[in-house]
Amino acid sequence: MPWLTAVRIRKRSTVSAALVTFTALAATAGCSTNDSDTAQKSPSPTTASPTNTVSAAEAQARKDVIAAYQGMNNEQVKAYAKSSLAGSNITKYATGAALRDTKDTVFVNMQNGIIVKGEPKVTVTEDDVAIDATGTRATLTVCFDLNTWESVDKKTGKSVTPPNQVKRYTTVAHLQEQGSRWLVIDEKADKAKTC
């Protein structure tokens, strides 16, 4: 039983708490004298430098990327909760395939009388952001937990989540800077990759 309890506690940790924890860890790692260990733990994907230090501009870009992703996530939570994009600001955060996937989810749910209750737990840190050399494209690796995001029949309130679902896994999102805004252009789940 102890391991089950441990898992439950970890799942309950809030996103913000997780962020703080991981950020603190990263900072500690940066000061570590064990350079090889540091590099292995948090390889910087954008620079050749073996250290964790990033420019102020890149640090800001990473924050903006995460904010855009969380913006999309929030808009999806709101839209899926009512199966409608009315009043949604989703286009401020998502475009292309990511926007299409949002529309498709709402449309399919709407046609099937499904709403999605709660919200997923999204765990992401600035070290999970990789910005390419042009500075306009980013890859974001996310630990996504939808144990707390439940698809239900709007009328009966009964769950319509299929059985035997992996509910905590890694997703990879791609973002692009368009007109000084970061937008999520796609996101793919990798359910084989736990986190």
Partner: protein, 307 residues
């Protein structure tokens, strides 16, 4: 005490048995769909089925049957909403929703498909049956069927407003006015009697906002005269003495003694000028007018000069 692997196995077995029970529950129909983020749901086999059509599935695929106003021809002409907020309008035949991209992409963006921004617009597309189509350029709006007439919406906006006749402050029915003495005419100004006031009406993606304000008041003074005032008039103050109103007045030359019930019927007719414009979903604008009346009576006496 169970060992860890044994416990895990027991838990797994419990999960599987629970799961198979749930599967049985869905055996009556349905399939699992997952979105790109991995959110999975059990939905009807026919995921664009609409309420009321479920028991008559054959009709939808019958080409001779009456088609719904908006339908997906790739899924047996099934009915779909003609408009959805943030999707735009459904285009029959294209089987997609289109909404003009806001903001439009930068010049040179591939979504322009090589066209000049002056020649048309980029539309966000949602096509239930085509995940690869997310954008399309059009010279003309693609879904003409569900077009909304902003002028009709403007009328609806006007209906939401309370437009009353002038709130006549002077002349008063209880007042006494004299032949040969300038009468000043003015109205009290409030949103419902003088403006400005605004209201909006929305249909689909189009919102029209109308603003109404009184542009003129025509006074028929009951003695055959008519005075047009382009403002609310000027409030009389005693210091003005016998002078005429600088903005809106009348001078009676005959008493009302011979008029019906001994008073002149005064009618103030305001013209509400209404400017409307499309505040969402386009750029059209226009004007409307509405007419409202208020009546009062005024007794015009003769100055008795006492010697």
């Amino acid at each position: 005490m169970l060992s860890r692997p044994a416990l895990a196995g027991a838990v797994l077995a419990a999960l599987v048995s629970l799961a198979s029970g749930e599967v049985t529950a869905y055996a009556g129909g349905g399939k699992v769909v997952c979105n790109e983020r991995g959110l999975c749901r059990v939905v009807a086999d026919d995921t664009v089925s609409t309420p009321g059509q479920a028991s008559d599935g054959q009709q939808a695929s019958d080409g001779n049957a009456a088609k719904p106003k908006c339908y997906d021809s790739l899924v047996g002409n099934q009915k779909v909403p003609c408009y959805l907020k943030n999707y735009g309008y459904w285009a029959n035949g294209r089987n997609c929703y289109f909404q003009q991209a806001d903001p439009q992409p930068a010049v040179g963006d591939p979504r322009w498909e090589g066209h000049d921004p002056a020649d048309g617009a980029v539309y966000d597309a949602y096509c239930p049956d085509n995940p690869n189509m997310t954008s399309q350029w059009f010279a003309q709006p693609p879904a003409g069927g569900a077009a909304v007439d902003p002028a009709v919406l403007a009328l609806e906006a006007v209906k939401k407003m309370t437009l009353r006749g002038p709130d006549i402050a002077n002349p008063r029915a209880t007042g006494t006015y004299m032949v040969g003495v300038p009468m000043w005419m003015w109205v009290n100004q409030s949103a419902t009697t003088y403006g400005p006031q605004s209201a909006s009406a929305t249909a689909g993606a189009v919102t029209v906002t109308a603003t109404a304000k009184v542009s003129k008041i025509v006074w028929r003074t009951g003695d055959g005269a008519s005075v047009t005032c382009t403002g609310p008039g000027t409030v009389y103050v005693a210091s003005a003495g016998m002078s005429e109103s600088p903005t809106c007045g009348h001078l009676y030359t005959t008493t009302s003694a011979d008029a019906h019930s001994g008073k002149y019927e005064v009618t103030a007719t305001s013209t509400w000028a209404i400017d409307w414009q499309v505040t969402a979903g386009g750029g059209q604008a226009g004007q409307l007018t509405e007419i409202r009346q208020t009546q009062t009576q005024v007794a015009i006496g003769e100055l008795q000069v006492v010697r």
